[in-house]
């Protein structure tokens, strides 16, 4: 048993223990302890007409959101990543903003714009509203992934096609087919994220499965009902992941970025340039500028002072917890990513599946599981403290950092590590001197992504935060019920600032140290 095996196995064990075990505990408890009564919940649920309605609603929200984000995200990703569209960087940054805040905040912002009365309001509270908000939140996921994927297409393949056809033909025939498995993955991600989303449909009073299922839990105190309710969510997640494994795993063509002479070509838009810019600009206006301008418009120095007074402590806590969570996730993700990338242990496939499964699982499930597992006198040092929050973050977001690590490692030729091994360096030294320095940019990127997700987390935080230790998203959620709109706007602004400032610093650092 060498250091490598011990470390990697520990990481896998940590994932299983912190992440998977709570979920298993819920299911086990409902079946074992509630006995036959527990099973009857499952039966009752399946027979209930309402469950199918709710699942249908959930599928509708997720399905429409996925289709629309793909429809807009693919062209946008191409335009922002590969064309000579003016102000590309600015537009990309703007489109990414909705990803930085909890989705329900966008729902609130849109509510302020559309108002309570009239046709717009009637339309907003329901499926269209949910889709609108979730579309603007998850659009950046597709856009950014498409941009990254396009960078990995061998430019020669595109150039070979350029000799016989213009860019539309090249994109259609070569670029898009090559990145398609990755695009489908992005679509799957959006589907799962919007399926498990509860904040927005709850606010918009649209009955989807995660919302109603857990209303049952809190309204009628049925642990068994809650467990039964998690089952469809677990199954959908499971099914989607199985699809990924079966259809997409073997279809990823050589997608590693290849350092070639000249690099990927910029697509000249020619005469259409400004016209396309107008279109992209309008899209940006609708999905980002409008709601956030409304936000800024409602804010005054007085309201910011009030917001700081009411939520300043939770803001500081949020920053601290998110940073700690991101750091732990970066470490765990690195080890898991290494395990997966190098297939270092026999069960590497399971590790990847478990991580992604947990990521897709609705936060309420993880939250309840965490409580069920850790709320004992003996484990008070976890449960009554911020550590439980960190455990929640580790459980839910490990897949992010591990997958980012995998792609960072994929860019390092294995020969580099092997050369060090042949020269006699131990595994730990190889990790420290070769792998980590080469992959650090990917690791840093993973840290920033993890930071955003930990900061904006609401579902898990709300379930397990120790009394008196609430985080900013939770505080906003509770104050939203009766705070003035100016106060809410100021709080949202604080939330954005909390997300953006560390990112801008980190992003600047990455850019500044970019290899020439």
């Amino acid at each position: 048993m060498n250091a490598r095996t011990i470390l990697l196995a520990s990481a896998a064990l940590a994932l299983a223990g912190i992440g998977l075990a709570p979920v298993l505990v819920i299911l086990a408890r409902s079946i074992l302890f509630e006995g036959p009564a527990g099973l009857s919940y499952y039966q009752r649920m399946w027979e209930s007409h309402r469950v199918w309605t709710l699942l249908g609603h959930s599928a509708a929200v997720s399905g429409l959101t996925t289709l629309l984000t793909l429809a807009a995200g693919l062209p946008l990703g191409i335009l922002l990543g590969r064309s000579d569209l003016p102000l590309r960087r600015v537009l990309t940054a703007l489109f990414t903003i909705p990803l930085l805040v909890p989705p329900y905040i966008l729902a609130v912002l849109w509510f302020h714009i559309l108002g309570r009365q009239g046709l717009a309001a009637a339309w907003y509270f329901g499926l269209p509203g949910c889709v609108l908000v979730l579309w603007s939140v998850f659009l950046p996921v597709v856009v950014l992934l498409v941009m990254i994927l396009l960078k990995t297409v061998n430019p020669r393949l595109e150039e070979a096609a350029r000799l016989t056809t213009g860019w539309p033909g090249v994109l259609r025939g070569v670029s898009i087919p090559l990145i398609f498995p990755g695009v489908l993955l992005a679509a799957l991600l959006v589907f799962l994220l919007s399926f498990g989303e509860f904040g927005v449909p709850m606010y918009l009073r649209y009955g989807v499965f995660p919302v109603e299922a857990f209303t049952q839990f809190s309204a009628f105190l049925d642990f068994g009902a809650a467990a039964a309710a998690t089952l469809p969510l677990v199954m959908v997640t499971f099914g989607a992941l199985a699809l990924e494994r079966v259809f997409l795993r073997d279809r990823t063509y050589i997608l590693r970025p290849i350092a070639a002479v000249g690099g990927p070509a910029e697509i000249a838009l020619g005469k259409a340039r400004w016209w396309v810019f107008g279109l992209a600009g309008m899209l940006c206006l609708v999905s980002v500028v409008l709601p956030f301008a409304a936000l800024l418009g409602s804010v005054s120095p007085a309201s910011i002072r009030e917001a700081l007074a009411r939520a300043g402590d939770s803001l500081l806590r949020s920053l601290w917890y998110a940073a700690a969570g991101a750091t732990l996730l970066a470490v765990l993700g690195f080890l898991l990513g290494y395990l997966i990338h190098n297939r270092a242990l026999r069960f590497w496939r399971s590790v990847d599946s478990i991580a992604v499964f947990l990521f897709a699982l609705p936060s309420t499930v993880i939250g309840i599981g965490l409580v069920a597992m850790w709320n004992h006198p003996a484990t008070g040092f976890v449960y009554g403290t911020p550590l439980i929050l960190l455990f929640g973050y580790l459980a839910q977001y490990a897949a992010l950092t591990s997958r980012i690590t995998v792609s960072a490692l994929a860019q390092i030729p294995r020969a580099l590590e092997e050369a060090a091994e042949v020269a006699g360096a131990s595994w730990l030294r190889r990790m420290g001197s070769i792998v980590t320095p080469l992959a650090w940019r990917g690791i840093a990127g993973g840290w920033m992504v993890a930071y955003i997700f930990c900061l904006r987390d609401t579902g898990i935080s709300m379930m397990v935060y120790p009394p008196g230790h609430d985080t900013l998203p939770v505080r906003i959620f509770t104050l939203m019920a009766n705070g003035s709109s100016e106060l809410i706007a100021a709080l949202c602004l604080l939330m954005c600032a909390a997300s953006l400032v560390p990112l801008l610093v980190g992003g600047a650092l990455l850019l500044w140290t970019r290899p020439a």
Binding site: L157, A161, R162, L163, T164, T165, G173
Partner: protein, 223 residues
């Protein structure tokens, strides 16, 4: 007639090609020789329109196709074939698909497409591999597909970037003979890049040596 007129190309302050001038008559066979990094590939790319010169002009026939910083005629209209160094066969298409792509893009009718594909496949002796994916082919077979793909459009000029560098000597010889035969039969202009002097000699064409960007010499290679 292809003409390079004092063409220079800079990448991030570094000159890949500097003040390069050359003329190529129709049907001529020109070999660009030189060590790696001296700008041979860049010359090909400039001619193909995959990149634009920083200075100078490029003509194909009477037409100016590239000027300083501008692409006047896009690649798809230059009637060129290009065999890349790493072949760049589209992995998601079969051999037939790779051949068909350009024809489809140009709107060639189905009958004509079929005819040309059959013709090309027999020319490079790959009729039995039409349905295979590039990943399933041997090195030599992939080479021939790349060649066929470049030639199926009946280009006036064929550009080849170190096409034989990854093959064993025996295969190399055979393919070289094939290339020469095809040029004789189809009559295209050949612009061939290699760093291998023996190969350059064997191709028996006009040799242009590019040693460093500032140095270019027409005629026979020294030594």
């Amino acid at each position: 007639m292809i003409r390079f007129d004092s063409v220079s190309k800079e990448y991030a302050g570094r000159a890949a090609v500097s003040g390069f001038s050359m003329s190529i008559a129709p049907g001529e066979r020109v070999v660009l020789v030189g060590p790696s990094g001296c700008g041979k590939t860049t010359v090909l790319r400039l001619l193909a329109g995959l990149t634009v010169p920083t200075a100078g002009r490029i003509f194909i026939g009477d037409r100016k196709v590239s000027g300083p910083g501008t692409l006047i005629v896009p690649p798809e209209e230059r009637n060129l074939g290009f065999v890349f160094q790493d072949l760049a066969l589209w992995p998601h298409m079969s051999v037939r698909g790779n051949l068909e792509f350009g024809l489809k893009a140009r709107g060639t009718c189905r009958e004509e497409r079929e005819r040309r594909i059959r013709e090309m496949l027999s020319l490079v002796e790959l009729e039995h591999r039409a349905g295979a994916r590039p990943g399933e082919l041997s090195g030599g077979e992939q080479q021939r597909v790349a060649l066929a793909r470049a030639l199926i459009q009946r280009p006036a000029t064929l550009l080849m970037d170190e096409p034989l560098s990854n093959l064993d000597p025996e295969l190399s010889l055979r393919l070289r003979a094939d290339i020469l035969r095809l040029q004789r039969d189809l009559g295209f202009t050949l612009l061939y890049v290699t760093h291998n002097r023996e190969e350059a000699l064997a191709l028996d064409g006009k040799c242009v040596s590019l040693v460093w960007p500032l140095f270019q010499k027409k005629g026979a290679i020294p030594g």
